[in-house]
Structures are given as structure tokens and as C-alpha cells.
């Protein structure tokens, strides 16, 4: 493979003179505990609404086409902002005060990049320094770990092969079918702890796998200086490893996926790493992998030096709902009934916060195995129970009942009831169905594929021992299965709905990056890329254009970890225009509904919780745009807001530089392509 590398190095002169503790943002989550917290208070309730744009960086030209899904959270170290950007997923360095581009490094990966399962700009990168040298590390769409000189953006020639480690090699498996097209990648930010860089793995969307066989998503630690592999953790156990017997009929041998595609947290003091593991092959059908399937959807704690498992807790036995574990574990030192506990709290798609002692893996509050419904899909294996924590209570809807349906008026509720008559509904862990035209056509779920809480995860305030977490409360996913046609998959069942041919479902990261082919435009269009027919046959899950599920459509919750109680919960986001102005709701007083969407992350400062709207609105108070909001973190009361041209699409971060506090946020979506925007307060006297 010919790789064409470029790096524009502009000398970057920075001064550490203004550095102060807590002023930088050196890792994706703010710190290795993934707190997304900084004790800064220059921007506060009194002045938040006066914020102005300090600089903005449009990412259109970082790649050969604009991107509308910019999900990155930058880092800031010693006056330089680092981020991934653009359809090329280049690493960029910007001046923290002005946004001036200092350097950019992109990798042209050709066919390998075009075949990658997770393309586009990714979520971020990692910074490392030993006090002398400074490095930036990130993973390309084609699954190569790149090390750059943080000052110039040049490849570090002593790392791996000329600055890159091919992550498809030395992985205790042969990536099939070959290194170019073999399905495996990673769109998250690597994490560096004590000179070890840790990388997970991601795959295509898993609703319609091409095969029950796939590559496996092992997690590895590498020496940050040399790129040498230090350890590997087998997320699907090898023979003779603990958990192998949870894959009956030898299914551990061929089942794949089960990666860690989201952010990893580390306690450097304890020397422990916390791995949130995703679903095994087949999001909704597990008939080819009978058994509980460790370490699928399991929180695993491993040793930072060796990768050896210390403890694990499986959140979902035999995963069938695409619950993954979708975000960074939050490391929290708490006090429960007078006892100090080093804890780890895991937000989830299913709207449940699981809390463990992070040294022992013991639940802080009892987690009970509760009986759950057994499904009837032929060949499926069902876990008779699932673990449900006694505390804290679920912070988002994770099942569908009649009471969850739209209720602005009795007529709308009746209409919703009629519309879902052919669907199976029920509480969390209600099993998927084989789709029947006469019903059930699907299991209607909340808190599954979309979540709930997806990749942005939650924040943790170490001062007040509070987890803050956003959740979609109305992201409905109909889950149903159809026998897989032989030309689509060798699985017995894949996602599909009666009345519609089964077809391969793809996600937004697939075939969309700068290496993807852009063939010449042909008159009349090429067309016919896929067989005719529909995907899922679930049209019309809105009611007169209104959401099927009643408000709040999304929430932010504050959960006290010393008591396991929800201190407050608020809807997040302006009521969408289409609801505020809907004819059927004329004259009704509708409190703020929040907005449906699953990609909102939260930032915590000394006094504020900061998060942007996920949709644009136009109101009397502001022109068309999305608001970046500040809430009093103690009460949840909104204390300020500032206008943005597009919705928040990446989680906000903050830093202090030369006496000024900045908030940087990625926005994109709809007609607006990706942009990083930095806010700060106006200079005094201006």
C-alpha cells in the first residue's frame, strides 16, 4: 500500500509561563477519569450570555469534501489546541488564543481508507509528554496508530514504522480477508497513561452482519515511545481463558466484534484501566453465539502494565439490543454511608448508571439478577435474567409502555395507540421479535441502539460527587428480525421488517471519508447500487408529524453518587419549532420539551453545567440557530445561553490561556458543515 503523507509544519512557539493547574485539557475526557470537569469560573452565571466568538475553524478543506458530522473534542496543552478534523481525519494544531492553524497532518490511505468501517473525522486524539518531548497520537480510518511531534506535526520516525503502527497486525488474529479490506477500525481517541497508549477497535454497524464470523475487537497497550505492543486483552476469550465457556458450541472461535469503540478511562495511581466493551457479532440476533458471551457488553478492569483482567461485570448477558457500553466509565471517589469508595460509574444506552467499587468490582449498591422475558425467535439463546441495580434509579426511559406515548391531547394518544398496535412493547430487555406483517412487526424499544446515553457519555464533578448525564428520552428503535437471504449474510436472522426485502444497513461512518471513491458523475446516474426494496418497514412512527413518545424528549440528570439519588432532572434543548408551531397543539401550554437526539455531551466547571442544543430552532428570543446553554450545576436552573449557527455535534471542552477562559465546541448538521467554535468573554472596556 502506497501511503501518501503530508505534513505542513509551522514552527509553533509556545510559552508555559501562563500554565496553571487545571487550565489545560490534556485528554479527550479532560482527565483520565473522563470527568469532563474543570474547576474554572471566569465564565459563570453572571456573564455566560455575554460570551463572544474568539475564533472559529471551518473543517471543510481538511479532506476532499465537507463533513456534516464533526464529533471531536479538542485537547489544549500549553497554548495549543489539538483536534481531529475533516473527512480526511487529519490531526490539526491551532493557536489557543486565535485559532490560527499551526500545522496539519493527514494520511492518504487509498483503498484501505475507503474500505474502513468508521470514516470521517473521529472524536479526537491523545497527547503525551515526558517533560521534554511532546507527542500527538491518533488512529486513522484505516486503523493505523500515528505518532506526531506535537510542535511540528511531523511523524515521529522512531515510533513504529516511520511514525505509524499498523493496528491490523500483531493482534493475536489474522484480520480477514486481507489488510486492505479487513473490517476493523477505530473512531475514538486513544488514551495515554504512564507511557502506555491504549487503543480499542470498532466495526461496521451490526444490525445486518455479512457473516456470523468477523474479526475480533481486542484492546492493546503500546509503548508510547516506540510503538511496541506491551499487552493485549482478548475481549472474546481464547481457549483456556476465563469466559471461553460462555460461548457455547465453540462460538468464541468465529464470533467477532466485541470491541471497545468508545473512550477508555484509567486510574494511574491504582494502575487500572476500565474497558467498556460493545456487543458481539449480530446486534439483534445471537443464535450463532449461544451463552452469556463474556466480555460482550461487560465493564472490564485490566492492569495498566500487563493488560491482565482484574475484574469484570457483565451489564447485559447475551446481548440482543445493541446496548454496547457506549461511553467512558466515570471514575469517582465517593463516600457512601460514611465509607470512602473509589468507584467507577458507567452511564449506558439503557439509561441505567451502574456503580462499582473500582478496585474490587463489587457493586456499590446491590445489583440483582432479575427474570426477564424469553423471546421466541427460532434458534436464539436467551438469558433468563439480567442484572438490574437497586440504585440509582434509571435516569431515562428504557422501555415503552402506553403511558410513554404522546399525550398532548387524548386524540393524539388514541392515534398513537392505534399506530403501535402491531408492535410489541414492554420494559427494558423485552426481546426482539421475528417480524410478522400481521404483528408483531417489531419490538418497539427505547434505550437500545441509540440510547439513552450514547458516545458522549456523562461528566463527573469531584467536588460534589455528582454525575451529570444527558440522555435521549425518546429515541425509539423498532427491533425486528427476518431470515437472512443467502446473498446478504450467512446468519440465520438479521434486522429486517415483514413486507420489506432484507437489505444491508449502513451507518454514517461507512464509505464517507476522504479516501472513499468519488467516481465521475455519469449522465442519468449510475443507480442500482443496491437491490430495490426497503430497509425496515416502520414508516409512520410519528403522530401527525409529532413524536410518538411524550416529552421530555431528552434530559440532563444530576445523580448524587454518595446517596445514589437523582438530585434533579431537566429537559435539555428548546422545544422544536415543529412542535411549538403545530396546528394540533394550538392554544396548549407546553413546557420546554427538550429535543430528541443522542449525541449531546456535557461540560462541568466550578459552578456551571454547559451543553448545547442538538437541533436548531427559531424563536422570538433568537434567530435560527442552536443555543449553547449554561445551567447552575447545583439546581439545574438555566442561567445563560449563547447563540450558535448549528447544533452541538461534539462535546464541549474548556481551558484557560493567557488569563482568559475559553469554551470550544464542535458544531455541524443539516446545511451546516463541521466547525470548531471557541467562545470567551469580551475584553474589558470593549
Amino acid at each position: 500500500m502506497q501511503l501518501d503523507r503530508f505534513a505542513i509544519g509551522l514552527a509553533c512557539v509556545v510559552s508555559a509561563a501562563f500554565a496553571q493547574p487545571g487550565a489545560d485539557w490534556p485528554t479527550y475526557g479532560g482527565d483520565l477519569a473522563s470527568s469532563k470537569y474543570r474547576p474554572l469560573d471566569q465564565i459563570n452565571a453572571a456573564n455566560f450570555s455575554q460570551l463572544e466568538i474568539a475564533w472559529r475553524f471551518k473543517t471543510d478543506n481538511i479532506g476532499n469534501r465537507p463533513e456534516y458530522k464533526l464529533e471531536g473534542t479538542p485537547l489544549m496543552v500549553k497554548g495549543v489546541v489539538y483536534a481531529t478534523a475533516g473527512s480526511r481525519r487529519a490531526a490539526i494544531a491551532l493557536d489557543a488564543a486565535t485559532g490560527e492553524l499551526l500545522w496539519v497532518h493527514g494520511e492518504h490511505e487509498g483503498e484501505r481508507g475507503a474500505a474502513a468501517p468508521r470514516q470521517l473525522s473521529g472524536r479526537g486524539l491523545a497527547y503525551w509528554s515526558d517533560g521534554k518531548e511532546e507527542r500527538i497520537l491518533y488512529v486513522t480510518p484505516g486503523y493505523r496508530l500515528i505518532a506526531l511531534d506535537a510542535k511540528t506535526g511531523a511523524l515521529v520516525s522512531t515510533f513504529g514504522q516511520g511514525g505509524a503502527v499498523d493496528l491490523k497486525l500483531d493482534d493475536d488474529q489474522t484480520i480477514e480477508p486481507d489488510l486492505t479490506t479487513g473490517e476493523i477500525g477505530f473512531q475514538g481517541a486513544p488514551v495515554v497513561a504512564r507511557d502506555t497508549v491504549i487503543v480499542g477497535a470498532a466495526f461496521r454497524e451490526g444490525m445486518t452482519p455479512k457473516s456470523m464470523r468477523n474479526n475480533k475487537g481486542y484492546v492493546r497497550g503500546f509503548d508510547v515511545r516506540t510503538g511496541k505492543r506491551l499487552w493485549i486483552f482478548h475481549t472474546i476469550p481464547l481457549k483456556n481463558e476465563l469466559g471461553y465457556d460462555t460461548w457455547e458450541n465453540g462460538s468464541a472461535e468465529y464470533t467477532g466484534n466485541t470491541g471497545v469503540w468508545t473512550q477508555i478511562s484509567v486510574d494511574e495511581q491504582l494502575g487500572l484501566v476500565y474497558l467498556p466493551v460493545e456487543s458481539p457479532t449480530g446486534d439483534y440476533y445471537g443464535g450463532h453465539r449461544p451463552g452469556a458471551n463474556l466480555f460482550g457488553e461487560t465493564l472490564v478492569c485490566v492492569d495498566l502494565k500487563t493488560g491482565q483482567r482484574k475484574w469484570h461485570f457483565q451489564l447485559v448477558h447475551h446481548p440482543l439490543w445493541d446496548m454496547d457500553i457506549s461511553s467512558a466509565p466515570l471514575l469517582a471517589d465517593i463516600t457512601v454511608n460514611g465509607r470512602a469508595i473509589k468507584a467507577v460509574a458507567q452511564p449506558t444506552k439503557q439509561g441505567i448508571l451502574y456503580v462499582f467499587d473500582r478496585v474490587t468490582g463489587k457493586p456499590v449498591w446491590p445489583i440483582e439478577e432479575k427474570k426477564v422475558e424469553r423471546g421466541s425467535v427460532p434458534g436464539e439463546w436467551y438469558s433468563p435474567t439480567q442484572p438490574i441495580p437497586s440504585k440509582p434509579p434509571a435516569y431515562a426511559r428504557n422501555g415503552v409502555s402506553i403511558d410513554d406515548l404522546i399525550d398532548f391531547t387524548p386524540a393524539l394518544r388514541d392515534q398513537a395507540r392505534t399506530q403501535i398496535a402491531r408492535y410489541k412493547i414492554g420494559p427494558v430487555f423485552t426481546p426482539p421479535v421475528e417480524s410478522q406483517a400481521a404483528g408483531p412487526i417489531a419490538t418497539l424499544t427505547l434505550g437500545t441502539a441509540s440510547g439513552g446515553t450514547n458516545w458522549p457519555g456523562g461528566s463527573y464533578d469531584p467536588e460534589t460527587h455528582t454525575v451529570y448525564v444527558y440522555a435521549c428520552n425518546s429515541c425509539v428503535t423498532p427491533i425486528s428480525l427476518l431470515p437472512a437471504p443467502k446473498d446478504i449474510s450467512d446468519m440465520r436472522y438479521v434486522a429486517g421488517a415483514a413486507g420489506q426485502p432484507v437489505r444491508m444497513r449502513t451507518g454514517p461512518g461507512e464509505n464517507t471519508g476522504a479516501d472513499s471513491p468519488l467516481p465521475a458523475r455519469t449522465p442519468g446516474g449510475r443507480g442500482g447500487a443496491a437491490a430495490g426494496g426497503g430497509g425496515s418497514g416502520f414508516g409512520g412512527l410519528s403522530v401527525q408529524g409529532l413524536p410518538l413518545i411524550k416529552p421530555p424528549y431528552s434530559t440532563i440528570s444530576a445523580i448524587k453518587l454518595d446517596t445514589g439519588e437523582i438530585a434533579w432532572q431537566i429537559p435539555h434543548g428548546e422545544t422544536p419549532d415543529a412542535i411549538r408551531n403545530h396546528a394540533a397543539l394550538n392554544g396548549l401550554a407546553i413546557p420546554r420539551t427538550g429535543q430528541s437526539g443522542y449525541n449531546i455531551g456535557t461540560l462541568i466547571t466550578k459552578t456551571l453545567l454547559i451543553a448545547g442544543d442538538g437541533q436548531v430552532t427559531t424563536t422570538d428570543a433568537h434567530p435560527r440557530g442552536a443555543m449553547l446553554r449554561a445551567y447552575d450545576k447545583a439546581s439545574g436552573k438555566e442561567v445563560g445561553s449563547v447563540w450558535m449557527p448549528a447544533p452541538q455535534s461534539g462535546s464541549p471542552m474548556t481551558y484557560m490561556w493567557r488569563g482568559k477562559q475559553y469554551i470550544v465546541i464542535a458544531v455541524s448538521g443539516g446545511a451546516y458543515s463541521g466547525e470548531y467554535i471557541a467562545f470567551r468573554l469580551p475584553d474589558e472596556g470593549r
Binding site: 454497524e205 451507518g507 464509505n511 443507480g527 422544536p576 419549532d577
Partner: protein
């Protein structure tokens, strides 16, 4: 002076008339039923893999009908939506579809959102489509 004033008034009236003529919204019958049908066939092949049947939303790709979709495009024009489709959709190859196919898909999207069909098809020129505002409510 008097003549000048008359000329100015006439010009203003013309301008206002022209504005009234070009200031259209999705409620004014911006597409035809035939066009929406054609667009439906294109969408079946090109869009539903990610956006779900009837474009009601996939696991990750958003719904192209309903409150969330309309709220996100409220205040913009059909031309803005057209340009977004031209630039980035279908995501695996944004050059695959012709302008006509993109316009037809747009007609289908408008019909899914219950905007009325009319007698004229949506144009294939984004400048023309930018005269048609997206308004969730009439």
C-alpha cells in the same frame, strides 16, 4: 419630480409583485405527485439503507420526516436541502445521482412531510429552489 415619483412608485410595485411571486413556501404546491412517486423509487434504492423505510429514521441516520427533521430545516429553503443532498448524499458516492433524481427525492421528502403537491415540478436548479422556504406550519 412628479414623473420621477411615479416611476419610483411603479418600480416599487413591480418589485413587490416580483417578491410576492418568488416568495414561496413548501405549502404552495412546490412539487407534483408524479415527481414524489419517482422520488420514492429513487429513495427506495438510495436512501432507505441508512434513513430507514419511508425515511423514518435509521439506527444512526436521522428521520427525514416529522418534527425533528422539520425543526432542523425550518427557516431554510428547499435549495439549501437540495445543496446538502448534492454535496453529501448518498454518502458512499455523492456523485451517483443526477440533479433530476435529487430533485425527485426532495419531492418525495416534501410529500412524506405532508406538504401539498401542486402542478409544477421542483426545479433542478438550487438557485430556483432557494426561493422556496421550508416552514413546518402554514
Amino acid at each position: 419630480m412628479g414623473r420621477y415619483r411615479t416611476w419610483v412608485s411603479a418600480a416599487l410595485v413591480c418589485a413587490a409583485a416580483a417578491l410576492a411571486q418568488t416568495s414561496r413556501s413548501v405549502w404552495d404546491g412546490a412539487f407534483t405527485e408524479d415527481q414524489a412517486r419517482r422520488g420514492g423509487s429513487v429513495a427506495e434504492k438510495e436512501c432507505v439503507n441508512c434513513h430507514g423505510a419511508a425515511l423514518s429514521g435509521g439506527e444512526e441516520a436521522p428521520a427525514l420526516e416529522g418534527a425533528g427533521f422539520l425543526s432542523n430545516w425550518n427557516g431554510l429553503t428547499v435549495g439549501d436541502l437540495f445543496d446538502r443532498i448534492r454535496k453529501s448524499m448518498p454518502q458512499d458516492d455523492p456523485t451517483r445521482l443526477t440533479r433530476q433524481q435529487d430533485a425527485d427525492v426532495l419531492a418525495y421528502i416534501l410529500s412524506l412531510n405532508r406538504f401539498p403537491a401542486g402542478k409544477t415540478e421542483l426545479s433542478t436548479q438550487s438557485e430556483v429552489l432557494k426561493q422556496i422556504k421550508i416552514e413546518p406550519a402554514k
